[in-house]
């Protein structure tokens, strides 16, 4: 990396300028940057597809029964180079997860991290990348 590029990158990191998270859409639909937790989830479906992966889980409802949540994730193009694959999640897996919520109140959002019962964590985005692409 040249010095010019390195210092540029450093300056961006310091001021926390938005980092592109998606080739495909803006982050306007989500409470981007506000990571919240969903615990005791069971994986129902893992869609390893472009332009985005999708994770469907069920979680116990207060008062009995379960409810379904849906989370968009990064693409296989990104995740395959960050250690994920089509078998990273499978139906029946017990997980805790974090996400940026949908602004419209539906049960879903953008998945950020997944924690397995043995404590292993996989992340959709690097730690510290929490701001989104501008509309483009």
């Amino acid at each position: 990396m040249t010095r010019a590029v390195a210092s540029w990158a450093g300056a961006i990191a310091l001021v926390g300028v938005a980092v592109s998270a998606s080739a495909h859409h803006s982050t306007a639909m989500f409470e981007w940057g506000k990571e919240v937790a969903l615990k005791n989830a069971t994986v129902e479906r893992w869609e390893w597809t472009n332009p985005h992966t999708f994770l469907y889980v069920s979680v116990p409802k207060a008062g009995g029964g379960t409810e379904r949540w849906a989370f968009e994730g990064m693409s296989p193009s990104h995740l395959s180079r960050a250690g994920w694959d089509k078998r990273s999640l499978k139906p029946g897996d017990k997980i805790d997860l974090t996400y940026f919520a949908l602004r419209d109140g539906r049960k879903g959002g953008f998945n950020i991290s997944v924690t397995f019962p043995d404590g292993r964590v996989i992340r959709q985005l690097p730690v510290g990348v929490s701001s989104g692409d501008a509309a483009r």
Binding site: M1, A13, A18, H25, E47, S77, A134
Partner: protein
């Protein structure tokens, strides 16, 4: 197949190979085949841009913070765009509907690109949306009145070890900078060079006298990733996102139909 036939087929195949070898050695310079071989041999003088090049997300994000100097007309477009955002419009682009970005943004998508040098053309293959740019290096001029193309119409030449690409005919659907689309007057000049063995720099100069008072220059960086392969990217595979004609975003939570 009996063994006699197998022997005959092998013998025929071997003789075909040897006659090709003889023919190759006999092609003199100046013959069509000799010229073809010479044109391919010349490619070895070009820099080594083989492999998979990943964009530097931080540098490319920083580019998006840079602002051109607008004409009155250009500034009015930006103002209208920003006013739309205050009404909840212009928040989502057509990429959410799987329409590719085209030039210039095709070169700074988050996923990698590769370069293919051939006699007469450089092909730039981008993983995002599985796009191909054709940059003709055979000396032809830019077309006079081209149809609008997402990736424009490009010609290129080598200035030492740097590839210079000139493009016109850019689709007016393409976004140049937020809120500002290409026009028939838009021209893009790219200078691409190897700053270090595993780093390419793309300097992009966008000129459009109707939009900008002076050419708008940005730089992007790419890193060669030695252990990556290009991946397929078919946007329509499972797209749940959308933008309406006003740029208002939506997302379906329905399951995809693939297993």
């Amino acid at each position: 197949m009996n063994s006699m036939w197998r022997t005959v087929i092998v013998a025929v195949a071997l003789s075909a190979v040897s006659s090709v070898a003889v023919a190759q050695s006999r092609d003199p310079a100046g013959s069509p085949e000799g010229d073809r071989r010479a044109r391919y041999a010349k490619l070895a003088e070009l820099p080594d841009w083989s492999g998979v090049w990943s964009p530097d997300w931080l540098v490319n994000s920083q580019n998006r913070q840079l602002k051109p100097e607008y004409t009155k007309e250009g500034a009015a477009l930006v103002e209208a765009y920003e006013q739309g955002q205050e009404r909840g419009e212009n928040l989502q682009g057509q990429q959410a509907n799987c329409v590719p970005p085209g030039l210039p943004n095709v070169m700074t998508q988050p996923y990698p690109i590769e370069f293919v040098f051939t006699p007469g053309a450089v092909y730039i293959i981008t993983e995002t949306y599985s796009q191909v740019r054709r940059v003709y290096t055979d000396g032809r001029p830019l077309p006079d009145d081209p149809d609008p193309y997402f990736n424009g119409h490009s010609i290129g030449h080598w200035d030492g070890q740097a590839l210079i690409v000139e493009t016109n005919g850019i689709n007016p659907r393409n976004v140049l900078v937020s809120g500002v689309h290409a026009t028939e007057q838009t021209r893009i000049r790219e200078k691409i060079w190897q700053e270090a063995p595993d780093q390419l720099i793309i300097e992009t100069t966008i000129s459009d006298p109707t939009l900008f008072t002076k050419p708008f220059v940005t730089r992007a960086a790419l890193t060669r990733e030695h252990d990556w392969e290009m991946r397929e990217y078919v946007c329509a595979e499972n797209n749940k996102d959308a933008a309406d004609p006003f740029g208002r975003p939506s997302m379906s939570l329905e399951e995809g139909d693939q297993e």
